[in-house]
């Protein structure tokens, strides 16, 4: 009986490792966080991308708390030329 239990446990570990369910779900969450944060930054600092919004003055006071995300965000926004390519990259093609 002990052996069977051990086998089942190993089997479980095998599938967990092969399918990487936990990693996948964390990855999905993280990309969701990423997108949400990017949207947040667009709403605050669209003027940095050349889009004039009337609220940018009020977003300035959030600057101290967002500066470390800002540079990467600006780069990403300028780089993402195609919406489709970006969405395609996010699709999980693994079985």
């Amino acid at each position: 009986m002990g052996k069977f239990k051990l086998f089942m446990k190993d089997l479980g570990l095998f599938f967990e490792g092969a399918l990487d369910l936990k990693g996948k779900s964390v990855g999905m969450l993280q990309s969701d966080i990423h997108n949400t944060d990017d949207e947040f930054l667009i709403l605050c600092f669209a003027d940095l991308l050349g889009i004039d919004i009337p609220t940018s003055y009020y977003a300035l006071e959030l600057l101290p708390y967002l500066e470390d995300e800002l540079e990467g965000w600006q780069f990403r926004m300028h780089e993402s030329k195609s919406v489709w390519a970006k969405k395609g990259g996010q699709l999980d093609m693994d079985p």
Binding site: V26, L29, Q30, D32, I33, T36, D37, E39, F40, L43, C44, L48, P54, T55, S56, Y57, Y58, L60, E61, L62, L63, P64, Y65, L66, E67, D68
Partner: protein, 305 residues
Amino acid sequence: MNKIIFFGGKGGVGKTSCSSAFAYNHANMGEKVLLVSTDPAHSVSDLFNKKIGDRVTKLDYNLFAFEIDAQRESEKYISSIRNNLSKIVSPVILEELKKQLDAASVSPGSHESALFDKMIQLINEESKNYDLIIFDTAPTGHTVRLLTLPEVLGAWINSLMKKRRKSLKLKNMVNNVSRESKDKIEDPILEILERRKATMEKARKIMVDEKQLSFMFVLNAERLPIEETKKAIDVLKKYDIPVNHLVVNKILPENPSDKFWQKKKAQEQNNLARIYEMKINKVYEIPLFPFDIDEVTIKEMAKYF
């Protein structure tokens, strides 16, 4: 009587003189009045021959004045952000961000936003200390934008807060934070947004309340000011802000002897008839005075309100 009155109108029709005279009259009747000038030219100082600036200054018994300095307000705001930044951010990044702040501090949009911020702050903080607050505003378009601001900003803040909450929630999920601490999310960004939202809502409540805020348009009995006033009244109607009073300034004396002035007077009568067609509750007619309005002659003008 309304608590907050905005004086608006086309440039040069006499907004400052009329709002000052109106304020003077009400102060004389025993109300405690605050006259706020938002005009960068600051004519209230010139009219009363007294330096006012951005602090509450006593002009007369019961009459106080305040001049908003938009540039200074925006500099104050930005330097407070700069202080905040230097506490949090590394010196290298600080340099980079300072450039951005400097650019913001000279942009005209910032001055306008700073002005609105100060007006909202005055409405929120001073309305309990005075019986009447009178805003002598810059020309029409400005004031209309101020009134739409709480709505625009409110929507913006709401969506920001929604996004921020979502992001924080997801981050907690990833980090496996226990349920108890999940419920109370503490975040400096959310705190700032909450604070702004509260001020906006408070100001909005005051502004949409018919009993508290009203508009008074100053115009002359001439074609262009009449047209502009009509348009402004239409816009304000959309935001449910009533215009119950008009002030027709610089009305010519009766029975002029000269032919030129007879013609001019006839034209004025026509235009006055058009003003009354607008069906505004109360129309004040103020004559053209043979003297400049200053701290003494304002008494003459105040009689007409």
